[in-house]
Symmetry: C3
Amino acid sequence: MNDSANANSAVWRDFPRTVLRGVGQVMFQDSMWTGLLFLIGIFWGAYAEGLGVVAWGAVVGVVVSTLAGYCLKLSDTNGAQGLWGFNGVLVGCAFPTFMGNTIWMWLALILCAAMTTWVRTALNRVFAPYGTSSFTFPFVLCTWFFLLAARYMHGMPPEFESVPVMASETVGHLDMSFGNLVVYWLKGISQVFLINSWVTGIFFLAGLAVCSWRAALWAAIASAVSLFTIILWRGPAADIAEGLYGFSAVLTGIALGATFCRTGNWRTWIWSLLGIVATVFIQAGMNAAFAPIGLATLTGPFCIGTWLFLIPGYKMFAPKF
Amino acid sequence: MNDSANANSAVWRDFPRTVLRGVGQVMFQDSMWTGLLFLIGIFWGAYAEGLGVVAWGAVVGVVVSTLAGYCLKLSDTNGAQGLWGFNGVLVGCAFPTFMGNTIWMWLALILCAAMTTWVRTALNRVFAPYGTSSFTFPFVLCTWFFLLAARYMHGMPPEFESVPVMASETVGHLDMSFGNLVVYWLKGISQVFLINSWVTGIFFLAGLAVCSWRAALWAAIASAVSLFTIILWRGPAADIAEGLYGFSAVLTGIALGATFCRTGNWRTWIWSLLGIVATVFIQAGMNAAFAPIGLATLTGPFCIGTWLFLIPGYKMFAPKF
Amino acid sequence: MNDSANANSAVWRDFPRTVLRGVGQVMFQDSMWTGLLFLIGIFWGAYAEGLGVVAWGAVVGVVVSTLAGYCLKLSDTNGAQGLWGFNGVLVGCAFPTFMGNTIWMWLALILCAAMTTWVRTALNRVFAPYGTSSFTFPFVLCTWFFLLAARYMHGMPPEFESVPVMASETVGHLDMSFGNLVVYWLKGISQVFLINSWVTGIFFLAGLAVCSWRAALWAAIASAVSLFTIILWRGPAADIAEGLYGFSAVLTGIALGATFCRTGNWRTWIWSLLGIVATVFIQAGMNAAFAPIGLATLTGPFCIGTWLFLIPGYKMFAPKF
């Protein structure tokens, strides 16, 4: 009885740390300080965009999905590392971004955020035999269903009636002054949490750096390389300027360059750069595929890109554990 | 030789029972009486709708897919439990519902119904490592291909040129008198076999009850909860009135509440209710995703919803075998 | 050191054979002569169509993906059998067929062709537990992403703005004189490499015959049966005349009838014929599903059709190894 009470009080004492680590785990960092800086960046960016509700969604999402982990009595190790919360915080960012601010949207957000916790268990079980995990795909899959459902559920209406655009209309002119390129580059990082703000991008880089300079480096490289790639192949200017070709590649870059592959190896460098460039094409391809139903790809291109480079399981890139 | 002759005559003596159990297994009931009541409900509803051909399709479908099991010499145990027939009977309901009554439609129906038997073997092999099975997904997958093919094959024309509808046009007004709510609730159950008839819903509930009161209870609960959910979130009135937001949730409810989870446990109750509500959102999401190609989701949302709740394999919901 | 030098020179001496076997492996033939005849057929057909660039794409694709296998130090056995190249050669045919001839298209072709080599490792790992492999799906998956990406990347523009066509507009009149039927039948075979030429179809049949008369027979049967099927069900005349309902079925026919099932067995004959007919419906269904996004199915219908017939793993069709 006493033990259980102690355990319970320990849980609550550790709860804020667990929640903040959940925010940090979106970019693979098991650190509450990373999570805190990410969260500050989210609040800054959300309020700067006039969408403060997105930041509160993030808080609700990460708390709910972390609580779901406790309710389901999942492995404490996972919980302490923040692995229950990282899908939930993204659900919390996505819902108020794409749907109207109604009570029904919030109820759906809570259900969806909680769901990601057990959907993660399910998808990790599916990916385990292939030596990888589900990354942010529980968030992606569940959120796709809810965002699509919003078209038919007027209690949580979509924020905009997205109109599919044809390729020929999407080129536009991209202002390529140095200052603007830096802005696009930083927004490529901030869009990981669906935030369109270069200041937030700096907070995110700082958050990465406090935990792992390598992760910060690869986030910076990945955003730059993806920006370079999409400009070379002349992608749609408006989307480039908002960082929408960067965020998936940033996650692929951190995953391959700083997390799951052997580091300090020129082969891994090439492999990670290839993964980043491939993710840009997957991003553009999924954008085009989803345009007719007006759906956001979310971080789906990152998941697919990273799986295609990790599932082969080549020894030459395997970490030395 | 004599043994084989005996075995053969036993097969034919048991054939009607095997076929009827196939009908019953659509809702997880290994009982010929359930199957018989389901079949009566299908005939009643199909003729009441002026689509008697749907009922005959159901008979052909279940017989063909059961015969395919014999021809392929699959495990007798599966056969005796009706597990060869439940996908076929659904193929038989779907084809005449969505395609014109031509000789080529019937030939395609026979091919597709037979295919479900070996596609079930294939998909069960895929799902086996994850502790679950393919449910009605062999029917869903094969029928999707054939229904889509109908657009390009004028020998088996689609019954209607479905026009994608935008969200804003779909709200409509839902008559919420008590009598009408009961009708929607019963149609949510009858639509499991693509039948739009409240009388059929009663036959289906009765069929469930003769084999398992718990299955009947959860079918009733699931249809009510899904109706409540879609009304709260203000879904499209016309579809609600035809039970189109109920059928997948009904199957999820029977699967989680009365078949695959530990029963008599408050945790399972909550888990099953969450599964039912989640299935409603998955249904709405898939409706929206498929609207541009005018395809029916069939029981796909049930399969996805139930997988997401069973594949985690949490011990707290595991049956005590 | 000396050994390694010897090994290196052996690699380069064997390189042309390895590359040609890669071309042959598209239809499961481990033979450089098959590959050579295929390549001649591709050059003939591409130049006859006025699209010589397609043939050069094929050469670049197979060379790049084969080199990727060396760079990644994959199993020599796989390499010697041409298993690194068969996805790359198809990438090389598809890119100049569907995209404009720009430097960026060629760079993307090189990246995509190389990618298929490790994506094949990844997908084979996924399919291994189910007793089958990824076939040409690495090509299909990667090429889908790049073709879709072309809509948004003006550096590699799509060759045509494909307009989705409704079923009612697609019937048309099919000239069914004997000579024309032979042309459609041969084009069904040539379209395996996206070539629209009956002469190429003869080269391909000859290429198969020099390695395996059974493979040539089943290619011929499959193209004839798929032609017969799509005519019976009244598919779109223009596509039938270009062999677009044949190529996937041809691959399914060779896979089931001459490669992966027990041969010389009447059961396998029926099984293979069912697989061929099923592939025609899957082809039509995927054509309809992809029409709204104007995407080619590539050899996806072959992969799906063959998986559905091989993953069941029935002993009665299993090869006697």
